[in-house]
């Protein structure tokens, strides 16, 4: 287990600072430990309010304790988040010094939508040939994070380097050159529904490989469809295909430009276990065949276990743990282990 995760699991608290909203909720609803401190059932506490003498003393005490505990937890969480950040920056430095240029480097990434802060200082890196899996509950900013990597979402603050290029300072043409080297598999595959499967695969080739002969393009389309085992569906419309087949075609379309980096946004969501496993196997197969680095966002632990070289866990817009599947699986932290068991 890496230093960052070790640090995390030493204490069973999570580094994500609790928000003001959480604090107020917690004040209104005393936690189990609060109840143990007072030694009373919530219903009894409510009854106490009718008898100000005992009730007030007990209630005030428990609120103060809860507040102190929360503040302590908050400080601890901040310290841990900072430690994780420092550790990540150290690793990034080590990777850069080793002369092995990382494919992706992200430093201090912040993104808000209105008042809602989605990413709160994310740091990560991906080495060549590595598959990084990002785990986290819904709404923790995972999709926003990978959309920042292809400039579908512009971050408020921070640095993103893809293939050594600072993404935020690139012009549109330069950005597109980086995008061509990056593949993105959307959650719903996002096939062009007015085109057949063949046209879907030919479309990026027509746009980017204008010098390629028609025969070669057709051969490439059939090769990619063969890779995903769907050569027979070549002239079908996407609406006639199943969810799993759509994902496979989406993968084939993305890989047809031979990207060096793949971003998978929940590749197995909405699929049955068997099909999900097939997609995960396909991801590994393609990764090995074309030596692709990748980032996978998933809730599917089977997919994470099969594909991950390394996992990071995102909670409320900050990285809270990092390690291999096996390392994180052994974690005693309640929140982390809730993903694995």
């Amino acid at each position: 287990m890496k230093e960052t995760e070790k640090y995390q699991s030493e204490d069973h608290e999570l580094p994500a600072p609790s928000t003001a909203a959480e604090q107020s909720t917690e004040t209104e609803h005393p936690t189990e430990s609060d109840q143990q401190t007072t030694g009373e059932h919530p219903a009894e506490s409510a009854d106490d309010q009718e008898f100000p003498l005992d009730g007030e003393i007990i209630l005030e005490k428990s609120e103060e304790e809860a507040l102190a505990e929360r503040m302590e937890r908050q400080e601890e969480a901040d310290r841990q988040a900072e430690a994780l950040r420092e550790a990540e920056l150290e690793i990034q430095e080590q990777v850069e010094n080793s002369g092995d240029e990382p494919v992706i480097v992200i430093r201090g990434l912040h993104k808000s939508f209105g008042d809602h802060e989605v990413l709160r200082g994310v740091d990560l890196h991906v080495k060549k040939g590595e598959n990084l899996v990002i785990l986290g509950k819904s709404g923790t900013g995972k999709s926003v994070l990978i959309k920042c990597l292809v400039s579908l979402v512009t971050p408020d603050e921070g640095e993103i380097k893809v293939f050594g290029e600072d993404l935020l300072s690139l012009k549109y043409g330069e950005l597109n050159a980086v995008r061509v080297r990056t593949g993105f598999l959307f959650q719903n595959a996002a096939l062009y529904d007015s085109m057949t499967v063949r046209e879907n695969l030919l479309f990026p080739l027509r746009q980017h490989k204008k010098d390629m002969s028609k025969e070669k393009k057709d051969a490439l389309v059939m090769e990619m469809l063969d890779n995903v085992g769907l050569t027979e569906q070549v002239d079908q419309m996407p609406s006639k295909l199943s969810g799993g087949q759509n994902k496979r075609i989406g993968l084939a379309r993305t890989l047809i430009l031979r990207p060096e980096l793949m971003l998978y946004d929940e590749p197995t969501t909405g699929l049955d276990t068997g099909t999900g496993k097939e997609i995960s196997e396909l991801i590994i197969k393609m990764q090995q065949k074309y030596n692709i680095s990748s980032i996978t966002i998933t809730h599917d632990m089977t997919c994470a276990k099969m594909t991950a070289s390394r996992i990071i866990m995102l909670k409320e817009g900050v990285v809270v743990a990092e390690g291999t599947y096996e390392e994180l699986e052994k974690s005693e932290d309640e929140w982390i282990s809730s993903f694995f068991h």
Binding site: V150, L152, V180, F184, L191, P204, Q207
Partner: protein, 268 residues
């Protein structure tokens, strides 16, 4: 009676709502202008999507011919039948071909055709691009290094700008034919004579501005349809809203351009 403070508070809220509505209107207007500006920037830049432009021309032009033709025919027939009694009371039946041709070519033909196109083509573009936005197909183009604006918007707007004038000319011709048939219900005349009289009443000032404004009609139908669809927010409901608002805004745009064109023509 309601306390003054409450009434004051409610009035304040109403003013705030009105303010935000106006703010939203000006924001959208500004955004639309910037969207149009991008069109003029992107249209000159290669690669030119000739194939897609031709396909969109086929969808906008060829696929609309029956509807436009039928509308034009009805337009000519109705205009002739409705005006005949008035013209007859002045003993001016011989002027009907000229009246029909001037009304159709100067005003009714271009406006009705543009409104039909706003309904048929504008709504299709709004719904199509809105659906592509919602299902992340536009994002998929963007991330694969393809400029979706150039591929989706520029091609469609070029197609409407080129095709609407052709559809207007077609509708005008069919409307005159409808006028001839309607006139023959009561008054026998030959098609040759009808068209000779109709054309004799037309001047350069009737035809030229009418044709020029149809390019603007086509442009506004295309750009508003694409703008509404391209900027659809996430969610299936927004596809319907995009299609609906594309028709409303494009129709309004057509009338505004017509008003401006009428003023400019009047100055000539």
């Amino acid at each position: 009676m309601e306390p003054v403070l409450n009434r004051y508070q409610r009035a304040k809220i109403r003013i705030r709502e009105k303010k935000s509505q106006w703010k939203g209107f000006f924001y959208n207007a500004g955004d639309l202008v910037s969207f149009m500006g991008r069109f003029f920037k992107e249209v000159w830049r290669p690669p030119y999507e000739v194939r897609e432009v031709l396909y969109q021309c086929y969808l906008v032009g060829y696929k609309s011919t029956f509807l436009i033709g039928l509308t034009g025919f009805i337009m000519g027939v109705v205009l002739t039948i409705q005006t005949r009694p008035s013209m007859a009371s002045f003993g001016a039946i011989s002027l009907i071909p000229g009246m029909v041709s001037v009304s159709v070519i100067r005003e009714i033909g271009p406006v009705i055709t543009a409104i039909i196109c706003a309904g048929k083509v504008g709504s299709r573009m709004g719904a199509e691009l809105g659906s592509m936005r919602v299902t992340e197909q536009i994002d998929a183009m963007e991330v694969s290094g393809i400029n979706p604006y150039r591929y989706l918007v520029v091609t469609r707007v070029l197609a409407t700008t080129l095709m609407v004038p052709l559809l207007v000319i077609f509708a005008d011709a069919i409307a005159l034919l409808g006028g001839y048939i309607a006139m023959n219900i009561h008054d026998a005349t030959t098609i040759h004579h009808f068209f000779i009289v109709a054309m004799a009443h037309l001047e350069f000032i009737d035809i030229f501005p009418a044709i020029v404004k149809t390019f603007f009609f086509g442009f506004v139908v295309g750009i508003i349809g694409c703008y509404k669809g391209y900027n659809a927010s996430r969610g299936t409901e927004s596809v319907g809203i995009a299609a609906n608002s594309a028709v409303v805004a494009a129709s309004l745009g057509v009338f505004i351009i017509d008003l401006i064109a009428a003023q400019i023509t009047d100055l000539l």
